[in-house]
């Protein structure tokens, strides 16, 4: 189908140095992204104090993606501080999927072995937290604020909440597996329709002190018939494991009443199993590519990557589809 045959819905693009937005006139959606540099020392200190653990090396503390649906006053957001709030602070327990670096056992043994020439020094306990920054953050709903005709798009931070009439109640409900509208239509998303709006919003990234990589990136694309979001957390711990957690949000502008589909999925596998999928054994660079990692993990049998994983007991494994009916 030639691209010209697709009817473009009426929309408007708004842009400032750090913020971009698209307003869909017919459906009443405003989708806004803000991309900024990593937080400066002062902002980092504040956020670190609030969270209680050291921030990822690259924390894009002011970055966000906001979805606003004016008719139903539904507002949903992906925002760095909230994603980090989902990271376990304190001693890791069952379900948290805690791991140590590959050489941790050998390292500790070399320090604690009575015959060791490297006796343990006087150390203080470290404040425990999940140093891999694993998060199953799937976005969060937030207080509706009346739009001020696009000028909020020029602001580098989410606007401060203003209490108006309360938004209509809504909740995420389990999707009906027999209802085709309750799923994400991959065929529609594979169609090369024009992309009216596209953005990549990094929330945080850390190289785990050269022991791997932890990375959370949100992407959005708006097509004439729908919008689609992928928020992907990717973890590599060298020699130990790979982990991916995806949140997909889909909305068809044709749905009535407006329906939002959210799919959350987690996969995990031991490092060597993913490494075995490399086409060239001496080139490890695909192991730094979240898309490659996700492809390998998702193509493994369900039992392997979504049930057993890397035997960490991480609660994020599996897939869940939910819907929200707006209005």
């Amino acid at each position: 189908m030639p691209l010209a045959a697709v009817a473009l819905p009426k929309h408007e693009l708004l842009e400032s140095p750090t913020t971009r937005a698209i307003k869909m006139h017919d459906s009443g959606w405003t989708l806004t992204v803000s991309t900024n540099s990593i937080s400066n020392a002062q902002d980092s200190d504040e956020l670190q104090r609030a969270l209680g653990f050291p921030l990822p090396e690259m924390t894009f503390g002011s970055n966000y993606l906001t979805l606003e649906h004016r008719p139903s006053k539904w507002k949903y957001q992906f925002y760095t501080p909230d994603a980090l709030r989902d990271v376990k602070n304190g001693e890791l327990g069952p379900g948290d999927g805690g791991v140590k670096v590959g050489h941790a056992d050998a390292w500790l043994q070399s320090r604690t072995n009575p015959s060791s020439s490297l006796p343990m020094p006087k150390t203080v306990p470290t404040k425990p937290y999940d140093w891999t920054y694993t998060t199953t953050y799937a976005g969060h709903s937030t207080v509706w604020t009346p739009p001020d005709d696009g000028s909020s798009a020029a602001d580098s931070r989410p606007p401060t909440p203003v209490v108006e009439e309360p938004p209509r109640p809504w909740t995420w409900a389990p999707a009906d597996p027999d209802n085709p509208a309750h799923g994400i239509p991959l065929e529609e998303l594979k169609r090369p329709d024009p992309i009216l709006f596209y953005a990549e919003v990094p929330l945080f990234e850390d190289e785990l002190h050269d022991n791997g990589s932890s990375h959370l990136l949100v992407r959005i694309r708006v097509m004439p018939t729908c919008f689609f979001i992928l928020s992907r957390f990717t973890l590599r711990v060298d020699g130990v494991l790979f982990r991916t957690h995806d949140t997909r949000v889909y909305h068809s502008f044709a749905s009535s009443p407006p329906l939002v589909v959210r799919e959350t999925s987690g996969w995990e596998a031991p490092y060597d199993r993913v490494k075995a999928a490399l086409s060239r054994r001496d080139d490890l660079s695909p192991l730094t590519d979240p898309t490659f990692i996700a492809k390998v993990l998702t193509e493994m049998p369900h039992q392997v990557s979504q049930v057993e994983g890397a035997n960490t007991g991480w609660r994020g494994l599996g897939t869940k589809v939910e819907i929200a009916v707006l209005g």
């Binding site: 400066n40 090396e57 020094p121 990094p202 002190h209």
Partner: protein, 318 residues
């Protein structure tokens, strides 16, 4: 051994042209002989310009020379090392630094960082870059063999201790560093690992084991005690990213110098500044904070888009 013209090599590298593999081998062998004679603690005198992690940012290295002066007119201490990985031009960068070290052994000091190891360079890009540019892993072998001989630390004017990572619970005095056997791959544990891997923790007094399960963080008591025992006034290190180019901790007794800023790792995403530290006679310290090398605009982003998924081109992700 066939003679080679080192100055011509330096000129060629300054034009960002790779040296032939056979030439690299000779240069690395010669440099190894120079490094082998260096102590684990090299003593230098001010004035000296201290540079943080380079990570294959060739243009930033050139910009540093533009701002700080070219060797041998300026004494350089690539304190923070991490010469390779992450960047697009690790091979050119380490080739140039190696030639400069060989040409001006007393004017250019290279300290070993945790990326100057076989294990880390295989995971973080240098190995892949050598394969891509030379079609074999020979260059990577020459360089990583040479890395085994890099010194571990430098002391400026007997008062400033420079190291890549930080302090080790096994090391109280500088003399204990001098007796370490450093001519090998960075071990996973022990004092050498600590020197290249550890990080300061401003909220602590003592050493603590990292929540990662290996490696130490060190606190203010550790820093003050080390400086007191060794009669020094300051510790300089790199190893960590800082938005403002450098940070000071522990009442100004420890500084982190960060240099790379135009890397895919940084500039196009972080917008942070870089800095070099000019240490003068009498203990003066001046952080020269600078912006990106303009050439990165020409060569950087396009290559960066090919290397990572951060380009702004719309993609039909699923």
């Amino acid at each position: 051994m066939a003679p080679f013209d080192l100055d011509a090599c330096i000129q060629q590298l300054l034009r960002k042209q790779l040296l032939h593999e056979a030439l690299l081998r000779e240069i690395c062998t010669k440099t190894k002989e120079v490094l082998m004679r260096e102590s684990n603690v090299v003593h230098v005198s001010s004035p000296v310009t201290v540079v943080g992690d380079i990570h294959g940012q060739f243009y930033d290295l050139i910009e540093i020379f533009r701002i700080g002066g070219f060797a041998p007119n300026t004494n350089y201490l690539f304190s923070a090392s991490d010469y390779v990985d992450r960047g697009l031009f690790s091979v050119e960068t380490i080739s140039l630094l190696t030639c400069l070290k060989l040409r001006y052994p007393d004017r250019v000091q290279l300290i070993r960082g945790n990326h100057e190891s076989r294990a880390v360079t295989q995971n973080y890009g240098f190995y892949t870059e050598c394969m891509r540019k030379y079609g074999s892993s020979h260059a990577w072998t020459y360089f990583t063999d040479m890395f085994d001989f890099l010194t571990l630390s430098v002391v400026i004017d007997d008062r400033v201790f420079c190291v890549h990572g930080g302090l080790s619970p096994s090391i109280h005095s500088i003399d204990q560093i001098k007796v370490l056997d450093r001519f090998r791959e960075i071990p996973p544990d022990g004092p050498i690992a600590d020197l290249v891997w550890s990080d300061p923790d401003a909220e602590k007094e003592d050493f603590a084991i990292s929540p990662r399960g290996a490696g130490y963080t060190f606190g203010s008591g550790v820093v003050h005690k080390f400086l007191e025992i060794n009669q020094m006034s300051h510790i300089l290190r790199a190893h960590q990213l800082c938005m403002e180019g450098y940070t000071s901790l522990f009442d100004g007794h420890l500084s982190t110098v960060w240099c790379v800023q135009s890397s895919p790792y940084c500039r196009y995403r972080c917008g942070n500044s870089a800095s070099i530290l000019e240490v003068g006679p009498g203990g003066s310290m001046y952080f020269n904070v600078f912006e990106a090398a303009p050439e990165n605009d020409r060569d950087g982003p396009s290559q960066q888009a090919a290397q990572s998924a951060n380009g702004k081109l719309p993609e039909y992700f699923l």
